[in-house]
Symmetry: C2
Subunit: 281 residues, 2 copies
C-alpha cells in the first residue's frame, strides 16, 4: 500500500524524529511505499492568504473560500499545495505525527490543513438537498482511505484521562479527528498517544515502539472510530442535529459515535496495547 | 482599561474586518486604550523553530521547551515575541478574533500561541509539590486579566448546537478557552460566535454588532466561565484527576466547570443575547 506521513517537528534528533524514522522503516520493510511530508524540513508556508492564489483578481477583496474554489477548479493553485493533494490521492493510509502544543497541532501542520484542504477538494463537495448535505462526515474525497494521529504530549496519561484536568484526549483530538479527517471521508483509526514525552527512558522507548509497530501492522484491518455518517439517516437535514432518540443518554462529542459495536480489534493486540498503556501511565 | 485585540484574518474588507473596526471604535469611544495585533498585517511568523532562539548553542539539538525557557529567562527572545508579551502584560482584557477554520484557529494565530507563550511565561511556572502543580488553570501570569473569543463560522448555529453534527461550540473551543486561556490564568468570558458568516445581510449584521456591543460594554462585569481552579482542592495531585464525587453525573469537558452558579449575568443582557442568538439561528 501507499503510506503518507505528514510530520511536524522542528528537530530531527528528538523523540518525534526517532518515531518517524521507526515508522518509515517499519512500512518499508513490510513492502509498502512511504512518502513523508516533513513540514519543517520543507519550510512549509503555514499562513493561508492571497499569495496562495497568484492568478486571482487582485483588485477584489480576498475571499478564502471563493478564491480557493476557483483556483482548485482551474488548476491555478500553488505548486506546494497541488503536490500535497497528489500525495493524498496516492495514499491508502495517512499518518499525521506531531507534538501536542497547546492541546492542538503545531501551527505549521494547522497551516497544512488550512491550505491543502481546498474548496472543491476537501469541502464544498457534493449536492446539498433535503437528503444530503454535501459529501462530508463519512463521504468525500478521502472515502476508502484511512488516517491516524501519532501524538506526543509532555503531560501524563492521567492528566488526559476521562476525569483528567486537561480533558479526555479523545475529546481534545475530536476537532482534528472528526472535524478534519472524518469530514472529508477518512476512516479514522484510534490515535497513538505517547505521554510524558520528556521523561522517556530506553525501556519505555522500546515498549512504545513495540506497541506502535503493532498498530502500524494492523492499520488496514483495525476498527476505525465509529463516527456516525452524515447522510445515512442519523441526522436531520438541514439542521444536522442528531435525531431524537439516538445517543439519548450521552452529551458532547460522544453523541457522534455509533452505539453499536462494529468491528472489534484482534484481542491480542488490544490487550497488549492496554497493558502497555498502563505501564506508561 | 487596556484592551489587546489579537486578530487573524487575511482580508480587511471582510466581515471580520468590519467586526474588528467596530470593536476598536467601541472601546476607544468608551475611553479605553486599544492595541491591535493584526497578525496578517504584521506578517507574523507562525512556525516555532530554532530561528526563534538566535543565541542558542547551534551545535546542540533544538529543544522547544528548554530553549524557550533559557531565552525567556535571559532576555534573549526575538523582538516580535517579546513585544507581544509586553502587550499582554499591559492588557486588562484580551480579545482573540478569528474565523473558525477546520474547527480551530487559523495557523497564524496558533503560531502566535506557540511562540508567545514561552516557558517561564505562560507555562512551566511555579512550584510542583503535593499541594500544587505549578501555577496554571486559574493561576499564572494572566491572573486578574480577562480574555474572550470572537469567532465567525460558515456553518449554521444548529450545526454547532448541543446535538449538532460539528459538536457543541463550547466543546470545540475548550482546547483554546480552557487549554490556552484559563491555563495561564485568564478569566475566560463566554465566546461571541457569529454563525453563517457568508450569508450576512444588513439587518443581521446590525443585530450582530448590537449584541457584540453589549458584550464589550459588560466585559469587565460579566461572569466568566466557571472553570475549576487546579490548586484549590478539586483535583488530586499529581494525578490531576477530578476528585471522586465532583461532577459525578457528567462526562467530558463539562466536568471541569464548577457545579455552583457563581455570578449571574445582568438579566437584561443575558435575555437580549439569547433572543438575538435565536434570530440568528
Amino acid at each position: 500500500m501507499n503510506v503518507l506521513l505528514v510530520y511536524a517537528h522542528p528537530e530531527p534528533q528528538s523523540l518525534n524524529g526517532s518515531i518517524r524514522d521507526f515508522m518509515v522503516d517499519r512500512f518499508v520493510r513490510a513492502g509498502h511505499v512511504v512518502e513523508v511530508s516533513d513540514l519543517y524540513a520543507m519550510r512549509w508556508k503555514a499562513n493561508l492568504d492571497a499569495e496562495d492564489f497568484p492568478q486571482r483578481d487582485a483588485t477584489q477583496p480576498f475571499r478564502a473560500s471563493a478564491d480557493s474554489k476557483r483556483a482548485f477548479a482551474e488548476g491555478a493553485q500553488t505548486a506546494d499545495v497541488a503536490a500535497e493533494q497528489q500525495k493524498l490521492r496516492r495514499a491508502d493510509l495517512v499518518i499525521f505525527q506531531f507534538p501536542l502544543w497547546w492541546f492542538s497541532m503545531p501551527a505549521i501542520m494547522k497551516g497544512w490543513f488550512d491550505r491543502v484542504y481546498a474548496y472543491g477538494f476537501a469541502y464544498g463537495v457534493g449536492e446539498h438537498s433535503e437528503k444530503r448535505w454535501g459529501e462530508r462526515y463519512g463521504e468525500g474525497v478521502f472515502k476508502g482511505k484511512r488516517a491516524m494521529l501519532v501524538v506526543t504530549t509532555g503531560g501524563w496519561a492521567e492528566h488526559y484521562s476521562e476525569r483528567g484536568i486537561n480533558g479526555p484526549i479523545d475529546d481534545l483530538l475530536f476537532p482534528i479527528q472528526h472535524g478534519a479527517l472524518f469530514y472529508p471521508g477518512f476512516d479514522v483509526l484510534p490515535p497513538f498517544v505517547v505521554y510524558k514525552s520528556s521523561a522517556m527512558d530506553a525501556t519505555r522507548h522500546n515498549e512504545t515502539l513495540g506497541a506502535l509497530a503493532e498498530r502500524l501492522d494492523n492499520a488496514m484491518q483495525a476498527a476505525p472510530i465509529a463516527y456516525r455518517s452524515q447522510n445515512r439517516g442519523d441526522y436531520l437535514i438541514p439542521a444536522l442535529t442528531l435525531k431524537p432518540g439516538l445517543s439519548a443518554d450521552r452529551i458532547g462529542f460522544a453523541l457522534h459515535r455509533s452505539e453499536e459495536k462494529s468491528q472489534i480489534l484482534p484481542v491480542e493486540v488490544s490487550e497488549e496495547d492496554e497493558s502497555k498503556q498502563k505501564m506508561r501511565a
